[in-house]
Symmetry: C2
Subunit: 251 residues, 2 copies
């Protein structure tokens, strides 16, 4: 029953997954910001986000997810759990996933210590926890609060605090191979989905190099549909949107 | 390196996962609402949300995730892909995951047809797609736009449109076994995490029936920490928050 065009845009782009580590998201206390932010950034950079997982602050859950995702996708980006407190277990979990020890990185140690000293805080073993990375990892800069993230092979481990997460994303993005960005166009039709599905199916088959997503919406008690056209060729996307306008003329 | 208390709250509550089906989330076009909403509802109902996955509108991805999650957790809640258009493939994917055919449900057919007729729309085969469910499924009511969701064994399949998703959640919730709701208390400390980690670790070990989460934040350029205490016994949570106030007195 599933036709060929029932699939995401097919591109030769690098693929990615995001792993959010966070009890606070699963409990409903905090609404995700990092995944939403990074999804848009990856799309603009030409990296195809294929999967997101959110798991608790639990080593077995993190190790299991990391080991599946890092083998399935070109990149895995994680968010959360790299601070100094007892619930920050991401570095240990990534070490366990790769089977490597977690060690104090001298450069990370220098940065975190300097940050503490400037603020007149004594440098203790808890703060030093933030300088621990799995052996072989390279650091991801944190110009806001010093404590770095790290990259180990294709896994990029970043902070959960949104403002720090964002600067870490900015700092690693230039080094990641860039694909052809997936661009999108939209067209809004003031008819319910069921009414336009037949003609839309025809267009989806015709433009089989694009993805045509159909999103119902209600406005002023009236059912309408937004068609989102996505693809890597901006001209093709424009052509498809123009044809939507012809097939479903504005009122 | 991971201590016993580095784990989510342990409860005898039913467990759950959420599977969001949506290219529009993965592309960064749309920010998730349904997962955030349901996470809070499940916590209040005493069901422990253990994992979230977001996958594209792709049958193999949906089937793979559903078959892992339905075996690992008591409940799986899905969002998205049950409309009438070519990109609505969730019913077929769930049928494939369970190895059962997808059929037109007579009651669903009656509802969707009646909704079309009231609005003066002809009832066509695309609209009838919304009445198709995997064999053996029971319907989830949709008082807004008629097209039902469905439950098959422990998998609850709901619409992606947030207002419809929410009424579907309300309609199934009373029938789900209720656990002890996890309640939480918060305490804000005007010191950075590294400064309080040692004492906090002691408290986390002492209150090992609770989860103490530590979340750094910046306010007016000053680093602070919010401690979130979670557990099923409101009295214990209150006791722990009171002890936090003693150990880390307000300024």
């Amino acid at each position: 029953m599933v036709s060929d065009y029932d699939r995401p845009v097919s591109t030769p782009n690098p693929t990615a997954a995001i792993l959010v580590i966070g009890d606070e998201i699963l409990s409903g206390r905090t609404r995700d910001e990092n995944m939403y932010h990074l999804a848009g950034v990856l799309t603009a950079h030409g990296i195809d986000l294929r999967e997101v997982r959110i798991v608790p602050d639990d080593q077995a859950a993190i190790v299991g997810a990391v080991n599946v995702l890092r083998r399935a996708y070109d990149h895995v980006f994680t968010s959360g759990g790299i601070g100094p407190t007892h619930d920050d277990i991401t570095a240990d979990a990534i070490g366990a996933a790769f089977g490597v020890p977690v060690v104090v990185d001298p450069e990370a140690d220098r940065r975190v210590r300097a940050f503490s000293e400037v603020r007149g805080m004594s440098y203790n073993s808890d703060q030093q926890r933030m300088a621990r990375v799995p052996q072989g990892a390279t650091l991801i800069d944190n110009p806001i609060s010093a404590a770095p993230g790290f990259t180990l092979e294709n896994v990029h481990v970043m902070a959960g605090v949104p403002v720090i997460f964002r600067v870490m994303v900015e700092s690693i993005l230039p080094a990641l191979a860039q694909g052809r960005p997936v661009v999108s166009g939209e067209y809004r039709i003031w008819r319910p989905e069921g009414d336009i599905a037949h003609d839309l199916r025809g267009l989806a088959a015709k433009y089989d190099d694009l993805a045509l997503g159909s999103y119902p919406s209600m406005q002023d008690g009236r059912g309408g549909t937004t068609i989102v056209v996505r693809g890597t060729d901006p001209q093709r996307v424009e052509t498809a949107v123009a044809e939507l306008r012809t097939v479903f003329p504005p009122e």
